[in-house]
Amino acid sequence: MKTEYLLMGILVMAGMTYLIRVTPMVLFRKKINHKWVKSFLYYVPYVVLSAMTFPAIFSSTGSKLSASFGCVAAMILAYFKRSLLTVALGAAITAFLVQLAGF
């Protein structure tokens, strides 16, 4: 991966994130109370992460089968509200074991 591309990308990400945070702080004083806008913003993180995870997760390891097992493991761990690190590692270890078994 090219260093210039990465630096440019990081600059874009950091710049955009900062712009969002700084604009209201220095420009606006009025509070937004629009229900639809607030609801829209509430759903955004879940929608983004869902769309990014499925179906991409199934091609994230050496095989579809190991990825499927990892995915199910993650869903079970997440259902029982394990920490992010536990769920991430649980998915990876499960996928690893399935690959180790030769699938």
């Binding site: 990400m13 994130t17 209201p24 220095v26 929608v47 990014m52 997440a78």
Partner: protein, 235 residues
């Protein structure tokens, strides 16, 4: 700089710092295993200080997404900070200078926002400096720790680690989807759209970054129209 205010900020920031450490360790670990250099991973955490936004950004960087996709994806995922920053702007002490406002803005995250909103007093720049400092250390330090840990990991384990980042996403999505039917609806609709963009012939042409943006706008808009969120659900 008021020392007492600063120290109170540090104290309030420690729990956030600890929470961030483990999350960012997962981020550092998975990003480096997905192919990002260690320096870039740490630099992203230091300059972005956000979870979902930088996870998505790394995802795009890895598939060589273009800068417009990157900027728009970051904008859409992080636009919620706009509202938080707006609320903070009304709670900071009135004499806070413009320079201080520029500095405080850098540290508006979900958790820092939540803690600062719980404080009874008006927010001073000294307090905010302390409150932001600890999470920044936790977030960046955790990323570095996770990133460096990859080099001592056996090669065979690394091949299965590509799934870890998605595992982390699942850990963010499932608990609220389990408790709130409206979130479950949004998640299911998003997955349905995502599958369509992956497999339906015409839609397949749309690049990953753009399809995420389109899905986010449509699904969030529909969910917000069908199931407006009550105040108490927002946390």
């Amino acid at each position: 700089m008021k020392k007492e205010e600063f120290l109170q900020g540090i104290r309030d920031g420690i729990p956030i710092c600890l929470g961030y450490f483990s999350v960012s360790m997962a981020f550092g670990l998975t990003s480096v295993l997905s192919g990002l250099p260690i320096w870039a991973t740490v630099l992203i955490s230091l300059t972005n200080l956000t979870s979902a936004g930088q996870f998505a950004g790394v995802n795009l960087l890895l598939v060589h997404g273009n800068m417009i996709e990157l900027a728009l994806t970051t904008l859409i995922i992080n636009i919620r900070y706009f509202l938080m920053s707006l609320s903070v702007s009304q709670k900071v002490e009135s004499k806070m200078t413009l320079k201080e406002r520029f500095a405080v803005s850098f540290g508006i995250t979900d958790e820092i926002f939540a803690v600062s909103m719980q404080r009874k007093e008006n927010l001073t720049s000294s307090y905010m400096a302390g409150l932001i400092l600890m999470p920044v250390i936790g977030w960046t330090g955790g990323t570095l720790t996770g990133a460096v840990a990859t080099s001592i990991m056996p090669e065979v384990l690394s091949s299965a680690m590509g799934i870890a980042l998605y595992g982390m996403f699942i850990a963010i999505i499932i608990p609220p989807a389990r408790e709130h039917k409206n979130v479950l609806f949004a998640v299911m609709l998003a997955i349905l759209f995502s599958l369509a963009f992956a497999y339906v012939p015409g839609l397949k042409k749309c690049s990953g970054g753009w399809s995420i943006i389109i899905i986010t706008l449509i699904v969030s808009a529909v969910a917000a129209a069908l199931f407006p969120v009550e105040e108490e659900e927002e946390k």
